[in-house]
Symmetry: C2
Subunit: 197 residues, 2 copies
């Protein structure tokens, strides 16, 4: 009856969406099964537990990320403005295409799920570590002033992540929701002027 797609992938896709919308606890296995178009026990053919589905969702997130091209193109960039702008755009674009992910990760991190925290740390940490390395390099080249680059990197990436979240979290609420790109365009020059020698 059901069309012959890859059920496992289909389940992960639906689960990612549902978990990010309502959180792990408020998504029932029944609802998830119906979202895929099968019955509950059929779902258990593919995953041994609800938790296992969740684990698979987290695994799949890591696969969706692709930084190598970005990092390659920025590793010798002399202009701090270009480094910051391209990293910010990369993050924003990713979360625009995968709006569910940041919500899901944050949700899970708040819940204290160890694996989710781990994934979040990897996603966020990869950007932070790379930016820190670039800041170190740009300082050693005499292009930017001396700073605690680990902290600067953490804050900049944090700001960009926060903006990405904000645009999905606050939609329809009193506080104005700015386009993340607009936000970054306004703030990167502040950082640049604050950092350049």
């Amino acid at each position: 009856m059901a069309p012959k797609v890859n059920r496992k992938t289909e389940i992960i896709k639906s689960a990612t969406l549902l978990f990010s919308q309502d959180g792990f606890d408020r998504v029932t296995v029944k609802r998830l099964a119906h979202a895929v178009g099968i019955s509950e026990p059929a779902l258990y053919r593919h995953f041994k537990s609800k938790e296992a589905i969740y684990e698979a969702v987290l695994e799949s997130i890591q696969d969706r990320l692709e930084y190598t091209q970005l990092f390659e193109s920025l590793k010798d960039e002399p202009d701090i403005e270009v480094v910051l702008a391209e990293m910010a755009n990369h993050i924003i674009e990713f979360f625009t295409l995968n709006i569910d992910l940041y919500r899901l990760l944050l949700y899970s991190a708040l819940r204290g799920h160890e694996k989710a925290k781990h994934v979040f740390q990897i996603v966020r940490g990869t950007y932070i570590k790379f930016l820190q390395k670039q800041l170190d390099r740009l300082h050693s080249e005499g292009r930017i002033v001396e700073k605690r680059n680990d902290i600067t990197a953490r804050c900049f990436i944090g700001m960009v992540f926060d903006c990405s979240l904000g645009s999905t979290l606050w939609r329809g609420f009193q506080g104005k929701v700015h386009d993340p790109k607009e936000v970054v365009d306004n703030n990167i020059p502040i950082y640049v002027r604050g950092l350049k020698t």
Copy 2:
């Protein structure tokens, strides 16, 4: 038998802590009752439902906030560095004293609870609006450069909030957790240099 404290207040206090630790859904009424030292039905004497307890928790958060003194002292401050530093310290201090709150608010906002979103918007929005007003003033006094001050304010406050959250959220994880004060001390000069005329 029970000591004659104000039970309602006591319940709200326990509920705030538990909800912020585990989220609304993972806190059972039974657990909450035991945390207070009474039985489940006794708790229902004071609140008509679990949701009602949650509403009361949200109400109480607004009471805990106190900005007027801070705002009064900064409304004519000529130095952007002082404005940013004192606002940041105020937020950080508040969340250090009430570590549960930001988690709870964010948790609830993700869950989509309208009232929680509203409270979060008020807490965050009050800081942002005040900062924006000060940036407008400082610009009109010729002390800082022209910017989209709504965005600048939103990002700065977002950064501070993010740091406050980070210190409770990521504790014990691979990514270094910086002391929020240390973070602010490193980054405010960047903003200041980026903004000053």
